[in-house]
Point group: C2
Chain length 636, copies 2
């Protein structure tokens, strides 16, 4: 094989300069495409191993009458003037399938149920073995991607190197590991600065074309959603994932570099307010799964039926929700309203409700795994605060859950939040923190994910880059709720469904008017009426408003919520007491923080999925995360 390589290097005039090794991808014996594409022309002549999945292919038929080329000598495609002008015209994958399938079938098991792995195939064996009956030979040009970059690398494979049919090798989604030599593209029209001429195929993981759901045609995002495990193979979802990844590191970096300590807050919690998921082991495993009976069948209704049935409820809740897109606020404001709505619904559908819910009165939770009722957490800020009251500045980043029966483009049942608590701080400090954190994230993306942002921008929303740049470099305007209401009342170009009277929760239309129309950018709205914010927000001296704020961005709504928390025992005690004794009992430990060594403190909460909506311009939150969980839907 060595002589083979040398022959190639000679062709590229690199004989006298033994190539430096190209940096391997850590923990895998191949070079990342990113390394090659960034290295560009300087890497010509180097011999490397690459791996990736085929994004597109074309084949050039080799002259079937000429003798097979000796394995040592590379035969360039007949024309170097671009494939369009080639005297041996390119043929599409489909053409080859139609014309040659019968031959292929005789030789290879291409129709097996699953994809196959073909191991290293030595050209020498082929020459000695099957040569007499081998199928027509092609030079295959495949664009492969390994996810390290938006761009692809063109790999040129002589079909004689492969022990799978050319159609299989060329098919979208096929995994190829190839050893080869980097060269400048022979076609002058090529948009690539470098391509790989394969010398050896080390691995081919085929696809089963009848079952593989992705296609060369760009599938709509909502179709891809049902293909959760394949969709990262699309350039779009790959880019969104890399943006997500960057935002994750940026979040940790920002807070740790500013002196915050990460604190791992629990996912399973004991206090439940609002619509929460229960965590239990009381619903044991079935003894015999096959005998499973749906005893409530006659009273039953499917998720779809429920969806329709509670449309009215959804509308009501949604209205409240979007009012400030603040989960915690809703808990505070709408607890009673929700209860009423829920009761109403129960009365309207008594049979259905009875069949669905197992009354907790009938359950002894002291026998559950933890010996008490447990839920999936809605927010980590309470737990975090106990650590802030010792370590000063703390943050966390973890999953939060809400069981609201809402299925729209802004709600997920499982989301990830970055949350902070800062001791010795007040509302201004929290707003400053939100402002700088948000801008840091935008700047980080521009600096570290430029290629992905550019790609997403092209596909989804051309204004993304400008928006990120403008946000990163300008200070975010801050004004009070009262000023916001005043602005809304002065609106002449717009009438609102909800009249902007002081005291209302701001709705989506209000926020959109302020950010999309008036300010054309991100704003911070602070000092809300106490009724629309959670009980733990600090009461201002006017006794009417609280020290809470929202960072609102165009098109998306609220991305960061924040507040100075009530540090005065008596006031917090009174506010918690409104929720009844049982709730108060569960928050005694939180009250304890005010009983003993209380400190002025504030914190913020960023919803990563909403940040992703802002950073990508994607219209649906279900496309921001790999495996979205929403009402009635949990793929894989």
């Amino acid at each position: 094989m060595e002589s083979h390589v040398k022959t190639h290097q000679k062709e590229h005039h690199h004989e006298d300069t033994p190539p430096d090794p190209v940096a391997l991808s850590k923990y895998s014996k191949r070079v990342e495409l990113k390394t090659l594409l960034e290295g560009g022309a300087s890497l010509v002549g180097k011999r490397v191993v690459v791996g990736g999945w085929v994004k597109s292919s074309r084949a050039v038929k080799k002259d079937s009458l000429s003798p097979p080329p000796p394995p040592e000598v590379f035969v360039p495609p007949p024309s170097s003037g671009g494939s369009q002008a080639s005297p041996t015209p390119s043929v599409s994958c489909t053409e080859i399938i139609n014309s040659k399938m019968n031959i292929f079938r005789k030789l290879f098991d291409v129709l097996s149920g699953g994809g196959k792995t073909y191991h290293i195939f030595d050209k020498h064996d082929l020459a000695g073995g099957h040569k007499a009956t081998s199928p027509p030979e092609y030079i295959i040009h495949s664009q492969i991607s390994d996810g390290s970059s938006v761009s692809t690398l063109q790999v040129i494979v002589d079909s004689v190197l492969s022990n799978v049919p050319a159609t299989q090798l060329m098919a979208l989604g096929t995994c190829i590991v190839a050893e080869g030599v980097l060269r400048q593209p022979l076609a002058a029209s090529s948009k690539h600065v470098i391509e790989l001429e394969a010398v050896k195929l080390l691995h081919v993981g085929t696809v089963d074309p009848d079952k593989y759901p992705l296609s060369k045609k760009q599938l709509p995002l909502h179709t891809l959603r049902d293909l959760s495990h394949f969709r990262p193979r699309t350039t779009m979802v790959g880019s969104v994932t890399r943006v997500h990844s960057a935002l994750t590191l940026a979040s940790h970096t920002f807070f740790q570099h500013n002196g915050f300590q990460y604190v791992q807050v629990p996912v399973i919690t004991t206090a439940g307010v609002g619509e929460m998921f229960r965590v239990t082991t009381l619903l044991g495993e079935t003894d015999d799964k096959d005998e499973k009976k749906h005893v409530d069948e006659k009273d039953g209704f499917s998720v779809d039926t429920v969806k329709a049935a509670v449309k009215e409820k959804t509308r009501l809740i949604d209205h409240l929700k979007r009012s400030d897109s603040n989960r915690e606020a809703v808990v505070a404001v709408a607890a009673h309203d929700l209860k009423k709505t829920s009761d109403l619904e129960m009365r309207q559908k008594p049979k259905a409700a009875a069949a669905t819910l197992i009354k907790p009165e009938k359950i002894d939770f002291s026998k559950d795994f933890f010996g008490c009722e447990t839920y999936l957490t809605v927010s980590g800020r309470f737990h975090l605060e106990s650590y802030a009251s010792a370590l000063g500045k703390v943050y966390t980043f973890g999953p939060r859950f809400t069981a609201d029966k809402i299925d729209d483009t802004r709600h997920l049942a499982e989301t990830w939040n970055v949350e902070t608590e800062i001791a010795f701080s007040e509302l201004d400090d929290a707003m400053e923190c939100a402002d700088e954190f948000f801008k840091f994230l935008c700047k980080y993306l521009l600096e570290n994910r430029h290629e992905d942002v550019k790609f997403i921008s092209k596909r989804v929303d051309k204004t993304i880059t400008t928006r990120l740049e403008a946000t990163a470099s300008n200070s975010i305007l801050r004004f009070s709720y009262t000023e916001a209401i005043s602005l809304l009342q002065k609106a002449t170009t717009r009438t609102f469904e909800t009249k902007p009277d002081w005291g209302i929760a701001l709705t989506e239309e209000h926020l959109s008017y302020l950010t999309d129309e008036i300010y054309k950018g991100c704003v911070i709205i602070h000092s809300y009426p106490k009724e629309v914010k959670p009980f733990y927000t600090r009461l201002n001296d006017d006794k009417q408003t609280v020290a809470a704020f929202d960072l609102v961005v165009p098109k998306v709504g609220v991305v960061i919520t924040g507040s100075q928390n009530e540090e005065r025992f008596e006031i917090m005690d009174a506010r918690i007491s409104e929720y009844g004794l049982e709730t108060k009992e569960k928050y005694e430990w939180y009250l304890d923080l005010r009983r003993h060594g209380t400190v002025k403190n504030s914190g913020i909460s960023l919803r990563m999925e909403h940040m992703l909506l802002f950073a990508t311009g994607l219209p649906d939150i279900k496309d921001t995360v790999p495996f979205p969980r929403s009402w009635g839907k949990a793929n894989n």
Copy 2:
């Protein structure tokens, strides 16, 4: 007030050099103690605001016969030769309480139910107002901590500055925000290089001594565990938290700098194997909580009774579990054994079991929130692999859950794992990744958390630093399971409860013998019999062993597990099929990754809590995380 400051500066001979501002803590208008302690003597004379919680205090009584000092002039403590030799002897907090409580009670509401917040207190007001009836005056020396450092800062407060009694100000846990001037300690014997002489008290958050559970005496860790929200205020838990925080950033940094993309895998999953928590909204909210009935009371048993009753089961499971401390392995190996044990237990306690479990046969999960059965995830590696099959190298860091009814020093129901999947890689690559990642974490702690490691070392385990250093600088020995068995069989100094025959799962005693006695360090054991590892591990050519490994550390056991995963469709298909049709159906998407574009791949999984056990030497895993969830226990 300005003249007051100047007077002080004069005393310290800094009049001519206007102090540079000391860097404020971000997002809080105070300077972190860390900044001051690291700045040391160079900061003498600077005026700063600090905040923190009192760790200890002593008071020096001022001569009651001398006239009160004018507010502008600072009166140093009578003796500068250290408090022991002071002519006005130090008095303990208790002494003051006993002798002066009646006077204090008259003046201040110290016995209120909750702690109080006292706002800025102007010395001038005091002089004009309550002076005639004021209590004896003290110079209070308090060590305060703000969590930014292991060390404390001494703050000197003249009791005349305070509007709360000296006893309240001095009490452990009191929060103080003080403005003052930095000076060199007057006592030559002081271990501090710097201390703060308070000029103003900006905030005091008192404690209610009757209810505050922490004490100056070092409480045992298991006692602190029930004080989850207060225990970060102890130096020990503070240090462990800072170590945890560093490991979190280090993990993200390591993988991102090595070209991995972070992928957010779901916490709520649809496939369940083994003992898992269910996530449901079917157990609805009670209509009237006060009327809650425990209908199964007569058949019931408390968590404690259950704990005793299943001791036998625990022993059995534990035996299996510890065998290789590999959760996934247990799923594979012990699925049938567990079932049998469980059945046995059911037969032994039919009434109890019937009363506790709600038979899933009676539940129509199509009516649950997601329209199907959902669980809390055990591992993110499956989901991660689908992203590795597109993006190449991916990692995640999130919560994992197991509902094993085991309550010991090594099990938590909720843990956090760092998991990776690497496409185009094999077992060696994964072992290399585990090796480098583990060593990186050790090195990172030594470099970034030296003070905390030193403190924990002093308190818990003197060998920690040496162990971390040795691990960080040496390569980790790798040998096969077969070699391990051979070594164990040759053991002469030790007899094992489980005979080390080839094929057994290695137990805690085996691993401990290899790491604590033979190698006195970390080892990687690879190529396990296929029966003791999960179904997805790649079958080796010998058809007996699989490409899986464990990184085992002294005293703790397995910290990292890893494997090359089976990329061959037929073999994976056969292995999944063993679990029955229902399971197979749920893993069809995972099989899809082998059907279409399969690639050799491997991954690792680090358990953060076990890493913390190794890094801190703590004996119980419940002390490694803020709010541990374990069988029968979920505080706050």
